[in-house]
Amino acid sequence: MKLHEYQAKEVFAEAGIPVPESRLASSVEEVVEAVGEIGYPAAIKAQVHVGGRGKAGGIEIVTSEDEAREAAESILGMDLKGYTVDRVLVEAGVDFVDELYVGVTMDRSAGEPVAMVSTEGGVDIEEVAAETPEAIAREHVDPAFGMHPFESRKVVYEAGVDREFAGDVASILRTLFDLYEESDASEIEVNPVMITADDEVVAADAVMNIDEDALFRQPDLADMAEASYEDDLERKAGEYGFDYVRLSGNVGIIGNGAGLVMTTLDLVDYYGGEPANFLDIGGGAKAERVANALDMVFSDENVDSVVFNIFGGITRGDEVAKGINEALEQFDEIPKPVTVRLAGTRAEEGMEILNTDLVTVEKTLESAVQRAVADAEEVNQ
């Protein structure tokens, strides 16, 4: 769950990490008011979950009210890689002499967190990682102990941070690591940490992703996450408790179990269609969840046909079938053609129950996907 820059900076500031003065604004007038308070130069930064905002025109530096107004008009409401910008962060410009990268993430292979520092800050760090990996110093941290002070110093010195600022940077890294643990983050990144002309060390950007599985014990962050949904369907999926990802195709997909749903997507693609979404209804789904899932997929205007693929373990085919019947019987006309494939626990009972006036029943995964792809093509002819 990604926090917005402005949210992450609130968290940083509370933990004592220096951040530039800033205001959140959602209208041109608010932007003008904010720069009036903060002064010039100021940065106007789109608050959307999109990487490379700067290059895409989502960040502008302004040095006058006219420029601020102009930037606000251009950024607010703009479409940034599919997301509409409705808020910007207005932030004091920093006169910097150097930029660093500092981050903490989970190294899955090692099963432990890793801290990273690089003097190649302010640029795409993934490019640095790919092209000059030696420019990023790394230090694994034993999660039982947390980060020892010496570890923060070691990685900062190893990265080649100027000795004059090494202590401050190490201290920021340690605070970031503590935040990483306390807030159940999956990733924290500051790119860049700026060394200012006044020899201060400031977090000029802030990326913070929270482990969704830990939101139950992070109520404040869960509230922030709530405010950061950017897609109505994804918000709805969150309310229904589904694992859902929206894609750009037209074949709607519902299934149980992440691997099987991914496989269904892949097969749609394999048979020449385009998946519209990933939707996992999870284990043991009953009628209501089935109806909710159909509602989700029908709500997506891009969807032209639906494939419903269940392999029952805990989930019972007869219950799923009943749920599908009930959900579809409420429509005068079925909004999009639905193909159902049931296997596993009580699959045969389920297939007998299914109302074939409402859905097409297929016996294999492959044939069900092929049918849904064909249906979608038909709609588009």
Binding site: M106, P143, D211, A258, M262, T263, L265, G313
Partner: protein, 289 residues
């Protein structure tokens, strides 16, 4: 004729008095699994699913001579439940729970390096040795006894493949769901090594998915260490970067690591055929036998 579990395995069910724990304890017993006890704090002295319940795993292990546990406790308490299983100590712990916070698992992972217990999962369907024992939630009826080992990060995808195999008359030695989380106790390599050492496993199916590097490491292991033929499958070819595809671990990073293509290439380089569809996987297995 199996790895890790068989009909001698003596199983404690952690969380046996909960709805899911109780249901699956009964299912496991019905399948023939040697479930000897349950463990639930405060419920010691009760009986659940026909077996005695103890307040602690250690007490259950001592009193009933148990050597394995299956964990059905809510995510907030699952990390602690795993630590308790490691402390008992048991030889094997299978954590079914989905949604365990990753940092809890990082701590568990550290502890695993200090003890001899094997952990499977979390966020997994468990492990089954057909005809002998199942520890978890896998639907026993689709499995059949035989000589093909399965290891997978996904539950229902495993069932899909197993179903194809069983329908072709191809039985399984053991099937292990290692789980869909970023940090898990048993990796592909661990399971592959166990199958390689099992004289009665003649072929292995490995179902991977996007995210992490476990499949790439498995490919390297297969190339260097395995005689037993392996058939592969990778889910998530169409997953966009940066999105979590259901499983907490199924995510292609923004920088493009953890893609299906990278894993498919690695497996192909290791001589492992990777099917485009589950049926193709079954075809490949059939060709090995």
């Amino acid at each position: 004729m199996s790895i890790l579990v068989d009909d001698d395995t003596r199983v404690v069910v952690q969380g046996i008095t909960g709805g899911e724990g109780n249901f699956h304890a009964e299912q496991m017993i019905e399948y023939g699994t040697n479930v000897v006890a349950g463990a639930v704090p405060g419920k010691g002295g009760q009986t659940s699913a026909g077996v005695p319940v103890y307040d602690t795993v250690q007490k259950a292990a001592i009193e009933e001579d148990a050597d394995a546990s299956v964990i059905f406790v809510p995510p907030a308490f699952a990390g602690d439940a795993i630590f308790e299983a490691l402390d008992a100590p048991l030889d094997l712990a299978v954590a079914i729970t989905e949604g365990v916070p990753t940092q809890d698992m990082a701590k568990v992972n550290k502890r695993l390096s200090e003890v001899d217990t094997r952990l499977i999962g979390p966020n997994c369907p468990g492990i089954i040795t057909p005809g002998e024992a199942k520890l978890g939630i896998l639907p026993g009826n689709i499995f059949s006894e035989g000589k093909v080992g399965l290891v997978s990060r996904s539950g229902t995808l495993t069932y899909q493949v197993v179903d194809s195999l069983t329908q072709r008359g191809i039985g399984q030695s053991t099937a292990v769901g290692i789980g869909g989380d970023p940090i898990i106790g048993t990796s592909f390599v661990d399971a592959l090594a166990a199958f390689e050492d099992d004289p009665d496993t003649e072929a292995v199916v490995m179902c991977g998915e996007i995210g992490g590097e476990d499949e790439e490491q498995a490919a390297a292991y297969i190339a260097e260490n395995m005689e037993t033929p392996v058939a592969g499958f990778i889910a998530g070819r169409t997953a966009p970067p940066g999105k979590r595809m259901g499983h907490a671990g199924a995510i292609v990073s923004g920088s493009g690591t953890g893609t299906a293509q990278s894993k498919i290439d690695a497996l192909n380089d290791a001589g492992v055929p990777v099917g485009d569809t589950p049926e193709e996987v079954a075809d490949n297995v059939e060709s090995f036998l």
